[in-house]
C-alpha cells in the first residue's frame, strides 16, 4: 500500500492549486454544494409553494417540474445544461456554471417536495386560526405557517445538502476541477495507487457528510420537542 502518495498530494486534494492557481479539491466541492443548496432553496421554495397553491395552472406546472426532475438521473441534467447551452444560448456555458445550474434545478425539485410535506405536516388549525384572525392566505403563509414549517424542515435541508455534496462529484464528468477530478488526475499521474487514492477521497467525502448527517439527526430530535401538534 502506497499511502505516501496520498499524503504527498493531500494539499491538492484539499484545495487544489489554490494560492497560485485556481481553487480545486474538496474546497471546490464544498463551494459548489453551498452555492447549489442556496440556489436550490429559493427555487425549491417557489416550486413548493406553487405546488400548494389554489391556482390549478401553478400547481400543475410545479407537479410536472417536480416529477420530471425526480424521474431523471442527475447526470442527464448535467449533460442537458452542458451540451444544450450551444443550442439555447448560442454558446457553451462554462463547466462550473452549467454544473451548478444542473445541481440547482435538480435539488430544487427535492426541496419543493420537502417544503410541501413540511407545510402539510403542520396541523390544519394553524392555517385556519391565522385566517380566522383576519390574515390573508399570503400573510398566513408568510407569518404563521412558513416560520414554523421551515424550522421543522431544517434537518431535511441538511440531508439534501449532504446528498448534494456527494452529487458534486458528477461535475467531474464535464470537467469541473473538484475533489473527484483531483483524485483522477493524481491517479493518472501516479498510476500505482488507485485503491489508496479513491479510498482517501471517499473518507474525505464521508467526513463531511457524516458530520452533517449526525448534526441533522440531533437537530431532528431537538426540534421534535417544539412542534405544534394536532390532536
Amino acid at each position: 500500500m502506497r499511502w505516501d502518495i496520498v499524503y504527498n498530494n493531500l494539499d491538492y486534494l484539499l484545495w487544489g492549486a489554490y494560492p497560485e492557481g485556481p481553487l480545486g479539491g474538496i474546497a471546490m466541492s464544498i463551494v459548489m454544494a453551498v452555492l447549489g443548496i442556496f440556489g436550490a432553496f429559493w427555487l425549491g421554495l417557489v416550486f413548493g409553494l406553487m405546488r400548494l397553491s389554489q391556482n390549478r395552472a401553478l400547481r400543475w406546472t410545479s407537479v410536472v417540474y417536480i416529477e420530471v426532475v425526480r424521474g431523471t438521473p442527475l447526470l442527464m441534467l448535467v449533460f442537458w445544461f452542458y451540451f444544450l447551452g450551444p443550442v439555447l444560448f448560442g454558446y457553451t456555458l462554462p463547466e462550473f456554471q452549467s454544473a451548478l445550474c444542473a445541481f440547482i434545478v435538480f435539488t430544487a425539485a427535492y426541496i419543493a417536495e420537502i417544503v410541501r410535506s413540511g407545510v402539510n405536516a403542520l396541523p390544519r388549525g394553524q392555517m385556519e386560526a391565522a385566517r380566522g384572525a383576519g390574515l390573508t392566505r399570503y400573510q398566513a403563509m408568510r407569518y404563521v405557517i412558513l416560520p414554523q414549517a421551515l424550522r421543522n424542515m431544517i434537518p431535511s435541508f441538511v440531508n439534501q445538502f449532504v446528498s448534494l455534496t456527494k452529487d458534486t462529484s458528477l461535475a467531474y464528468i464535464i470537467g469541473v476541477n473538484e475533489l473527484t477530478k483531483a483524485a483522477t488526475q493524481i491517479n493518472n499521474r501516479e498510476v500505482v495507487a488507485p485503491a489508496e487514492i479513491f479510498m482517501a477521497i471517499a473518507v474525505l467525502y464521508f467526513l463531511i457528510c457524516w458530520v452533517l448527517t449526525a448534526f441533522s439527526r440531533r437537530m431532528e430530535r431537538h426540534l421534535a420537542r417544539y412542534q405544534a401538534r394536532g390532536r
Binding site: 500500500m1 416529477e67 420530471v68 425526480r70 424521474g71 431523471t72 438521473p73 442527475l74 447526470l75 442527464m76 449533460f79 442537458w80 451540451f83 444544450l84 450551444p86 443550442v87 448560442g90 449532504v162 456527494k166 452529487d167 458534486t168 462529484s169 458528477l170 467531474y172 464528468i173 473527484t180 483524485a183 483522477t184 491517479n187 495507487a193 488507485p194 485503491a195 489508496e196 479513491f198 479510498m199 477521497i201 471517499a202 473518507v203 467525502y205 464521508f206 457528510c209 457524516w210 448527517t213
Partner: protein, 233 residues
C-alpha cells in the same frame, strides 16, 4: 440558434438501435444490481437487528460509510482499485469477461444495499415495540414473533420506499458510463459526439428514464392509497 432538429436521426436506423441497446443494458445492470442489493441489504439489516454487538457495529459502519460517500467515487474505487485488492488470476479472468460491467454492478449493488438495509431496518423499527412484547407474552419465541407478527406488518410499510430505492438505482446506473459500460446515457453521449445532435439523443434517453420512473411511482401512489390506509398506529 441555427440548430436544425433532426428527430429521424435518433428515431430510426443505427442510432436508434444504439439507444435501445443502451436502454436494455441499463435495465439489465439495474436488474442484476437490484436483486443482489436486496439480498445483501437484507443480510446487513438482519445483522443490525441481530442483538449481537459486533455484528450491529459492522452493519452500522457499512451503512454509514456507503451512504455517505459518492457513488461515483465508489465506482472508481471498485474499477481502478480491484487490481490491488484482488488476486492477479481473478483480475486476469475479469479483464477478459466484461470487467466494466462487473465493477459497475458491484459498485451499484454495494451502494444500494446500504440504503435498502436502512429502509428495512426503519421499517421494522416503525412497528411499535409492544407488538413484539405482546407476541412474546402469548408464548411465541423471538423468531416466531418476528416471523408471524413483526415482519408481515413491516413488509407492507417497507415496499414503497424499497421500490423508490430501486428507482434510484435505475437512475444511479447512469453513472457507470464513466467506466465505459455502454448503457443508455453512454449511448446518448456517443450519438451526440457522432452527430452533434445532442438535443435529440438526450431527449430520447431522458424520456426512457422518465417512462420507467413515472410508471413505477404512479404504481406506488396507487399502492399507498389502497394498502397503507389500514395501517395506522
Amino acid at each position: 440558434m441555427g440548430y436544425q432538429f433532426d428527430w429521424s436521426l435518433v428515431l430510426t436506423g443505427e442510432y436508434r438501435d444504439w439507444l435501445i441497446d443502451g436502454f436494455i443494458l441499463t435495465l439489465k445492470i439495474s436488474g442484476i444490481a437490484g436483486l443482489c442489493a436486496m439480498i445483501l441489504g437484507t443480510v446487513v439489516a438482519v445483522m443490525r437487528l441481530s442483538r449481537v454487538k459486533p455484528l450491529e457495529w459492522l452493519s452500522l459502519a457499512y451503512t454509514e460509510f456507503f451512504r455517505n460517500t459518492p457513488l461515483l467515487v465508489q465506482i472508481f474505487f471498485w474499477y481502478f482499485g480491484s487490481e490491488a485488492l484482488l488476486p492477479t488470476a481473478l483480475n486476469e479472468w475479469l479483464y477478459s469477461h466484461d470487467f466494466e460491467f462487473v465493477a459497475g454492478t458491484v459498485a451499484l449493488t454495494v451502494y444500494s444495499s446500504a440504503f435498502i438495509a436502512e429502509e428495512l431496518r426503519s421499517g421494522v423499527f416503525s412497528i411499535p415495540k409492544n407488538q413484539l412484547e405482546a407476541s412474546r407474552a402469548t408464548g411465541l419465541s423471538f423468531l416466531q414473533g418476528y416471523r408471524y407478527v413483526i415482519l408481515p406488518q413491516a413488509f407492507r410499510i417497507v415496499i414503497p420506499p424499497l421500490i423508490s430505492q430501486l428507482l434510484n438505482l435505475l437512475k444511479n446506473s447512469s453513472l457507470v458510463m464513466t467506466i465505459g459500460v455502454m448503457e443508455v446515457t453512454y449511448q446518448a453521449r456517443q450519438v451526440e459526439s457522432f452527430t452533434f445532435h445532442g438535443f435529440e439523443s438526450f431527449t430520447v434517453a431522458t424520456v426512457l428514464y422518465l417512462a420507467v420512473s413515472l410508471a413505477v411511482s404512479f404504481a406506488i401512489t396507487m399502492y399507498n392509497k389502497h394498502f397503507l390506509r389500514q395501517l395506522r398506529y
